[in-house]
């Protein structure tokens, strides 16, 4: 080794390092593609299972209760105060131009199109996507999922589809409630802070809304529900490394579903504006 010229050694190690870097990057890319593929398969089956027997309706109702009733307090509280804050922020700007009555318009549009579905999606993702991931992850590491398969039950039908269906039903309802409570919060803030009458606020808030606005909000809430439930299920059913892995999956479920919700929101907004312009 002492006779080996130094430059040659450097060259060799540099080649080895670059090949290993390429190797690592290739492996990471393959792994990412595989994860996307597995997630797509899980998502496809979660919906396809709903069109054939057996369907697990009691499990779906239990999940609706867990996702819906369980998330209601945080959705109510956050919805109310977001509506109030919207009025406080926009109202002072409108006051400068003497157009305080426009506050109802802007708050209503923002809540129905954007803030209602997105904030509700993010809140439910934080609460339920993590819950789903930790529950399914714990079942996986304690062999309960294998036990289910060993007894001839399809875990995708029994565990994934009821959660996805429950989220698809409940999240749009929660979004509706969130928007309504947000408008209530906005009305309270506008009455006490801007001296705007409650009637004017409500009249303007309702009059400004068109069918396309409602559809935009509704379609977003459905897509967000699908994202948060399938990501939670995917992370839970792909836990590696025992209880530590369950913790990681729980965190990942919240991070991934939140980011996906925000990314999806951008594209859905663009699509909705395009369709509203065309129709």
């Amino acid at each position: 080794m002492s006779n080996t010229p130094l430059p040659a050694t450097r060259q060799q190690s540099s080649v080895a390092a670059s090949s290993s870097v390429i190797g690592v990057l290739t492996e990471a890319a393959k792994e990412s593609v595989l994860k996307v593929q597995d997630y797509s398969i899980l998502s496809y089956h979660s919906v396809a299972n709903l069109f054939s027997r057996p369907r697990y309706m009691p499990d779906t109702v239990t999940q609706m209760d867990d996702i819906g009733t369980g998330s209601l307090p945080i959705v109510l509280l956050s919805g109310f105060f977001i509506g109030a804050v919207m009025v406080l922020q926009t109202g002072t700007q409108f006051q400068r131009f003497g157009q305080v009555s426009l506050t109802g318009d802007i708050v209503s549009l923002a809540l129905v199109r954007e803030l209602g579905p997105t904030i509700t999606g993010l809140l439910v993702a934080g609460r339920c996507s993590s819950g789903i991931a930790s529950e399914l992850g714990s079942m996986l590491v304690t062999e309960q999922v294998d036990a289910m398969r060993a007894m001839g039950t399809n875990p995708s039908r029994k565990l994934v589809s009821p959660r996805v269906l429950a989220a698809l039903i409940v999240v749009p309802l929660l979004t509706t409630i969130s928007v309504f409570v947000g408008l209530l919060g906005g009305m309270v803030a506008s009455v006490f802070s801007l001296r705007l009458s409650a009637t004017t606020f409500w009249q303007r808030a309702i009059a400004i809304l068109e069918f396309s606005d409602l559809m935009q909000g509704f379609s977003k809430s459905v897509v967000f529900a699908f994202i948060l439930s399938t990501v939670g299920c995917y992370q839970g059913l792909n836990v590696r490394g025992g209880t530590q892995g369950v913790g990681r999956a729980t965190t990942q479920a919240v991070v991934v579903s939140s980011v996906l919700i925000i990314v999806a929101d951008t594209f859905l907004t663009k699509l909705a504006l395009y369709l509203a312009d065309k129709l």
Binding site: M139, T142, Q144, A147, A150, M151, G152, N154
Partner: protein
């Protein structure tokens, strides 16, 4: 109605094996784990799979139940080739197989009643009222009738294994696989579990594959039979075997290094096996 010991000559069957592995290979990223396994479990036979930790015993059980697919080779179970079958068909097949898991694997959000009834309710067309007596019967077999309304977290380790056995046998499966049913239990509880397995073996005569690394459990199963009169297991008289044929397999580094009966096992000349069983 005791199960009397019979002579060795009376044992055996010419019908197709309940389980048949033929040159089965299975590996993961770190390399092959199972290297060309070939063995079979005859109808009514109980085969005990021994080996050190990490030799692939649990993987063998999962292959037998169709929970894993081999890289190469063939697994035939209950008259059908389950190698590479689609999951939908495997779900049907697994309804004829009972699997007792190492840690019980009970559904912790369900009561004991719901855990034991799970399989029957999943098969459909039955109500909870119709299932109740069957659940009671399965739980009385494992002497845990009084736990029906309890949750798994309220049970001891031994009780959880017994409930898992009740859950596995409730549909009278044609093939039973046990994954270290006494692992992590104290000697007294282990004996209780082995007594239950002997009872199951001698009463229902289900073809079984049992994994264990406790040699005393394996020897107890080979040297005892279940006496229905006393409702206890009893030692077999010297020179006699139980009604149900018993075999032993020893795995080492993913290969079978022994396949025979108790007599052949205790008289083997293989150094490793002699050390292993000593």
């Amino acid at each position: 109605m005791s199960a009397p010991p019979t002579s060795t000559a009376a044992l055996g069957s010419s019908s197709e094996p309940a389980l048949d592995f033929s040159d089965v290979w299975l590996g993961f990223e770190e390399g092959p784990i199972l290297r060309g396994l070939s063995f079979s479990v005859q109808p009514r036979e109980t085969l005990i799979l021994l080996g050190e930790t990490g030799t692939g015993k649990t993987l063998t059980l999962k292959l037998a139940a169709g929970l894993l697919c081999p890289d190469s080779g063939t697994v035939r179970a209950l008259g059908q080739d389950i190698t590479g079958k689609p999951e939908r068909e495997l779900l049907e097949f697994r309804r004829q197989v009972g699997f007792v898991f190492q840690e019980g694997a009970l559904f912790d959000s369900l009561t004991v009643r719901e855990n034991v009834a799970f399989r029957l309710l999943e098969e459909g067309n039955v109500t909870e009222e119709e299932v109740e007596p069957v659940v009671r019967e399965a739980l009385s077999f494992v002497e845990l009738e009084n736990t029906v309304d309890m949750y798994p977290s309220e049970l001891s380790g031994g009780m959880r294994r017994r409930v898992d056995i009740a859950r596995a046998i409730i549909t009278r499966p044609e093939l039973l696989v046990y994954d270290s049913p006494t692992g992590g239990l104290d000697p007294v509880t282990s004996t209780t579990i082995i007594e239950l397995i002997i009872k199951q073996r001698d009463v229902f005569k289900t073809s079984s594959l049992l994994v264990t690394h406790r040699l005393q459990d394996a020897f107890m199963m080979a040297t005892h039979y279940f006496d229905r009169k006393s409702n206890r297991m009893q030692p077999l008289p010297p020179g006699m075997q139980g009604e149900v044929p018993m075999g032993f397999l020893i795995l080492r580094d993913g290969k079978i290094i022994f396949d025979g009966n108790l007599d052949e096992l205790v008289h083997t000349q293989d150094e490793y096996i002699r050390e292993y069983i000593s």
